[in-house]
């Protein structure tokens, strides 16, 4: 139990450090930049129509108060932390006066759903294919599918998504290419709505699956082909243990552990891919929200989404780390 407590302590420390550094980084980037967010927002608003100088001045003061740009750097930093802890990033400028936080909360379930589904599919499919390809090395079918998966691996999410969009949206239009669900349907647990949800999610999820598949395949295959030459596997083969049992009990089980760590490490990158995919398919998640915020010059929204996404990824990594000892007995014992 001592080993587990130590492990938990380390992970907890890491968890808080990630959040601390990430939030500080977001603060520093916005505060050390040569661009004044208040002036930028003021410029953006006055662009839309002539405003008299007095109301511009009033707006400037309101914005300065809102962004906590008064006082010393340290005071601003502490005020920022206060806002992060309260989950209050002020009202969004592009969707005034909706608070940034409620925009994020509306988008977060979409992103979490899309990410979880595609991660589970690509992780299990990639590992299964990789393990099989590493164990049955002479199988032609596995070799061919492996080559296809690996060729797809270095291509960025946007390009894969764009190709899928062209293929299933224009050339053979069978799937919706935009949005999260049909507009005129009432959200709820109805069959129609669920059907629409799945249809709209297929292409974005497929994009993310294709993006992730290759790396799981490659690392699993090399892990398995190393384990296959291990003494205990050779011994089991000589002892006449059936090859199915060797594969599932001796080889795949051992190789899955490092892959679970990989899952935690890759989350940050998968999230990045989701941002791009959501934008491409106009999927109503956090990524699209952020990119819209950038296009509209919505300072509060962009800062809020960055901070929340850093925290969300850190929480997900932490949860995977907590599950890890349940599967790897060595962490519990050591």
């Amino acid at each position: 139990m001592d080993g587990f407590a130590k492990y938990l302590g380390r992970r907890l420390f890491q968890f808080f450090l990630v959040i601390f550094l990430g939030v500080s980084l977001a603060f520093l980037i916005t505060n050390l930049s040569p661009v004044d967010p208040v002036e930028q927002s003021v410029a953006l608003m006055t662009n839309f129509g002539a405003t008299d100088p007095r109301s511009v001045e009033l707006m400037r003061q309101a914005l300065q108060e809102l962004y906590g740009l008064q006082g010393s750097m340290l005071e601003q930093y502490l005020a920022f932390w206060g806002r992060v802890i309260r989950g209050d990033f002020g009202p969004s400028l592009s969707a005034f006066p909706t608070p940034v936080m409620s925009l994020i909360m509306g988008a977060l379930p979409w992103t979490i759903g899309l990410l979880t589904l595609s991660l589970v599919i690509s992780w299990s499919l990639g590992n299964l294919l990789g393990a099989l390809a590493g164990y049955y090395r002479s199988n032609l079918l596995l070799k061919l599918s492996g080559a296809a998966v690996m060729a797809l691996h270095p291509v960025p999410a946007y390009i894969i998504g764009l190709c899928l969009l062209l293929a299933f949206g224009f050339i053979w239009p069978i799937l919706p290419i935009s949005g999260g669900a049909q507009m005129n349907l009432q959200p709820g647990l109805t069959l129609d709505y669920l059907r629409s949800l799945i249809l709209h999610g297929t292409l974005p999820a497929l994009t993310l699956v294709f993006v992730g598949l290759g790396s799981w395949f490659i690392s699993m295959r090399s892990l398995v082909s190393n384990i296959v030459t291990d003494d205990h596997v050779v011994y089991a083969e000589l002892g006449g243990v059936s090859s199915n049992k060797i594969f599932s009990q001796y080889v795949a089980r051992n190789a899955l552990l490092p892959q679970l760590t990989g899952l935690a490490l890759s989350l940050g990158n998968v999230f990045g891919g989701a941002v791009i995919t959501e934008f491409l398919f106009n999927y109503p998640g956090v990524g699209r929200l952020m990119i819209q915020g950038i296009y509209r010059g919505d300072y509060a929204l962009v800062l809020g989404v960055t901070t929340i996404s850093i925290i969300a990824v850190a929480v997900a990594v932490f949860i995977i780390d907590l599950i890890y000892p349940l599967i790897d007995p060595r962490v519990r014992l050591s």
Partner: protein
């Protein structure tokens, strides 16, 4: 060096394909120095011309020749990738080797920082940097930011190599002979780390080019400088797909996918060369 190259070309089919692909695309990109048209000027040619004998890959709605536009776009994209790779290699090597060699507190501190960086999602941070920099965002700034985010995985890998070198006999000899830490690291250890640097550089290059494409596609870079992502951005701006000007978007995508494929094949075959275990297993030993 040439002997290694020749052997790889002769005996490793992946390397041969990857080498030819990458070289062809590199030569194509190099050709932009002799382009008949300036690469940033627009409305020089009749817009929306389909591929023909005169304009091989057609022209864009902005009156540019897709062929020559692509040539300089690939050049700029590759240049960005190489800059990021070199900068982030310097960071990864410095931090990985110091962490592995010094050990103890230094190792702990550096690797805690490293693990934290790994857990941070890159894209939102890059987007935030772009958002606050806006007009002063040039490609060197973007490259430096990407390099600051791209060293962490590889620093861990380099650390593990240095860790095993530290306990070797020759390191102790060097210490007793009075070599300083930088001398040991550069003269004694670096040659052993070199293959890892080379291999991670290939992967990092692929990552950096993908990043450039991703950011430019959204318009989050210097959009007047032609890049592959930038071409797709302008095609989207002019709704090329809906208007049926497929050549504007299809050729850049084909080019970038070929480049990725070439670099990827090079990366896996170089890895195989460096790590003989995978070569043995492929031969069926």
């Amino acid at each position: 060096m040439f002997k290694i190259l020749r052997d790889l070309l002769r005996y490793n089919i992946e390397f041969a394909i990857g080498f030819v692909l990458t070289l062809a695309i590199f030569l194509f990109a190099l050709a932009h120095f002799w382009a008949p048209l300036p690469d940033t000027a627009i409305y020089l040619l009749p817009p929306d011309m389909p591929p023909s004998a005169q304009y091989w890959f057609g022209t864009t709605s902005r009156g540019q020749d897709v062929l020559w536009q692509m040539s300089s776009a690939i050049w700029n994209t590759m240049l960005f990738g190489l800059t990021v790779t070199i900068l982030s290699r310097l960071l990864a090597v410095a931090i990985g080797m110091l962490s592995g060699y010094l050990g103890g507190r230094w190792d702990q501190a550096l690797m805690t920082l490293n693990d934290t960086m790994i857990a941070l999602p890159n894209i939102p941070i890059l987007l935030l940097v772009y958002f606050v920099m806006r007009d002063s965002m040039s490609w060197p700034v973007l490259a430096a930011t990407a390099a600051l985010l791209g060293w962490n995985y590889d620093a861990r890998l380099i650390r593990s190599v240095t860790l095993s070198l530290r306990s070797r006999e020759f390191t102790r000899h060097a210490v007793f002979a009075g070599m300083s830490v930088p001398q040991i690291l550069v003269r004694q250890h670096l040659p052993y780390v070199m293959p890892v640097i080379f291999f991670t550089a290939m992967n990092n290059l692929i990552w950096a080019i993908g990043l450039e494409v991703t950011l430019s596609v959204l318009g989050f870079s210097d959009i007047n400088r032609p890049t592959i992502g930038g071409m797709i951005y302008w095609a989207n701006q002019h709704q090329a797909i809906i208007a049926g000007i497929w050549w504007w978007i299809a050729f850049p995508i084909i080019a970038i996918v070929l480049l990725f494929l070439g670099l990827f094949l090079l990366a896996i075959s170089v890895n195989e060369y460096i790590d003989p275990r995978s070569r043995l297993s492929r031969m069926g030993a």
